[in-house]
């Protein structure tokens, strides 16, 4: 630091701690609510210290044997659906954009630039602006209430394709020539040179896309009508649809904790990749 200023240092820490506390407070309350019985939670003011019913609440939520209004499907099942959806979306996005970036950079074929611009334009068509017709297409293909319906319409990715394209453009031609001299065909080059070189980009993208897939809301809301296909984000919304009086807030809050856990873990454990992923995909 440039100058020593005790007062300013204290202020910095104070502001940051206040920030952290304010950011964490909602989640703390959620956690506390998930450890009490329903009666304790709905009386105002609810207790602010964790109670002793955590185990019951979480097992009730996970197994789905409850009686409140709204959906009573098992959250365990929803977590599975969310996990599969998020993984499929993340992995499919990465592999598809890797392949198309490879094709665009290393092969000459008709309409190459047209396809490139077409991919670029999808940036301007987020799901939200074309929900109606996209829903129709998926319904016509008979993909409602299936993993394919949940994932396939979301797996195209302009940002990922760009990222890989930019990356491939920085790979020196010598490497390509060397590979050719050694008798490697294009697929061999792809497998043994490009894929290993892009692992760090792939990890970064994986974090971002996993969170994207897990947190999808509008699209699953439309394509899933059966309880067995609800991702957890939809399930939690369905649980509170009965109004204040009948909602089992303790169970809902336990579900909220469960729904937050996997993506939060991914972000915190893979923090380095997460930061890289954010900065790379947006710039």
């Amino acid at each position: 630091m440039i100058e020593r200023n005790r007062w300013l240092d204290v202020l910095s820490h104070a502001v940051l701690i206040v920030g952290v506390v304010v950011v964490a407070f909602p989640v703390y309350v959620t956690f506390v609510a998930s450890t009490h019985t329903m009666q304790e939670v709905v009386q105002a003011p609810m207790p602010l210290w964790p109670g002793s019913h955590a185990w019951e609440n979480y097992t009730t939520a996970l197994l789905g044997d409850r009686s409140g209004s709204g959906t009573t499907a098992a959250v365990g099942r929803m977590m599975m659906v969310s996990l599969i959806t998020a993984l499929v979306i993340a992995l499919a996005k990465i592999s598809m954009s890797l392949l198309s970036a490879f094709a665009i950079v290393y092969f000459k074929f008709p309409c190459r630039m047209a396809i490139f611009w077409a991919i670029f334009m999808t940036l301007m068509l987020p799901v939200e602006v074309r929900i109606g017709p996209t829903y129709q297409v998926v319904a016509d293909l008979g993909l409602l209430n299936s993993y394919a319906g949940l994932t396939v319409p979301l797996v195209a990715s302009a940002t990922a394709t760009f990222l890989f394209r930019q990356f491939f453009l920085t790979i020196p031609d010598e490497l390509v020539e060397a590979a050719r001299m050694d008798g490697a065909g294009p697929m061999r080059f792809f497998k043994d040179v490009l894929v290993p070189l892009s692992t760090s980009s792939m990890a970064a993208l994986f974090v971002i896309q996993f969170i994207y897939g897990w947190n999808q809301y509008l699209w699953p809301l439309l394509v899933t009508t059966e309880e067995s296909m609800y991702p957890v984000v939809i399930g939690i919304k369905r649980m509170i649809s009965g109004g204040d009086a009948q909602t089992e807030w303790n169970i809902v809050m336990a579900t909220a904790m469960l729904a937050m856990l996997p993506p939060a873990l991914v972000v915190i454990l893979m923090q380095k990749w997460f930061v890289k992923g954010l900065v790379d995909t947006e710039k």
Binding site: D9, V20, A44, L125, G132, A156, E282
Partner: protein, 279 residues
């Protein structure tokens, strides 16, 4: 072909529906889709005369400017102090970034619970202090609720970018200013803030896009667009009119308006972010 999967997905799920939206916006059909009639721009005309649509525009504008300004302001402040502290930057960063991972709908549910008029902790505290809080009846309160939830979720993202921006400012500049006798306040406004302007501008665009499109989950979970239609942002209205009220033509016309907005925002982003705003 290597590119076939990508092309088929964007063809089937992006361009075909977008085209359909364009066509439908020019048509009028009944709820069962049995009769379709070309009506030209009538759907759009109807939109311009529809008071609730114009109101939704206003709501969206208020909502997104509040989210962008508050989100950017708070996170800039946090990032500045995080950059200042000598030890613990990484710890604070870890503690501040995880809300990014929370799904918008889950954030909506959590904030709804905190501020629920009958059982919420915060609303109880507010009532104790003599402030009548009721997000179910008062549209200002409902708006405040979704703004808070949206800002809460977006702070981590802005924070990361500001922190990265601040850390990339050369230390020598700051030291030179300090030697010239500029205090921390002065240094912030004359050196760090101007140098952060590209980041700020980029974040402004991103935050507006976020407030427009990614907050659907928050709105749907926390207020369902209510009370009345007072927090129905544009995306929520497209969903509501198309899927709940089954007005396909009107919904498609709204989609087209949204598309135009997205295209405009994207163009702005690329034109200016590429050039980098500089003083």
């Amino acid at each position: 072909m290597l590119i076939a999967p990508q092309v088929s997905v964007i063809g089937i799920f992006f361009f075909w529906p977008a085209l359909q939206a364009l066509l439908q916006s020019l048509q009028q059909s009944d709820a069962f889709g049995t009769s379709v009639e070309w009506v030209g721009f009538a759907n759009f005309q109807r939109l311009w005369q529809d008071a609730s649509y114009l109101e939704s525009f206003q709501t969206t504008a208020v909502f997104s400017s509040l989210v962008a300004v508050l989100g950017i302001g708070i996170s800039l402040c946090l990032a500045y102090f995080a950059d200042r502290v000598v030890r613990g930057t990484v710890v604070y960063r870890t503690l501040l970034i995880w809300p990014y991972a929370v799904a918008p709908a889950v954030a909506g549910v959590v904030w709804l619970f905190l501020f629920s008029p009958s059982i919420g902790v915060v609303s109880y505290a507010l009532n104790q202090w003599g402030f009548e809080w009721n997000a179910l009846l008062n549209s200002r309160h409902a708006m405040a609720l979704i703004v808070m939830a949206a800002v809460w979720k977006q702070i981590s993202y802005n924070f990361l970018f500001f922190l990265a921006g601040l850390q990339s400012i050369p230390k020598s500049l700051i030291e030179a200013a300090a030697i010239d006798g500029a205090g921390p306040w002065r240094r912030f406004w004359t050196i760090q803030f101007p140098l952060l302007s590209p980041t700020s501008f980029f974040l402004l665009v991103i935050n507006v896009v976020y407030a427009f499109f990614d907050t659907f989950g928050i709105v749907d979970a926390a207020t369902k667009g209510g009370p009345g239609k007072d927090t129905a942002i544009l995306v929520y209205k497209v969903y509501f009119d198309g899927f709940k009220a089954l007005d396909l033509g009107g919904s498609a016309a709204q989609s087209v308006v949204l598309m135009v907005i997205v295209v405009a925002l994207t163009v702005v982003q690329f034109r200016f972010v590429e050039k980098k705003v500089n003083y």
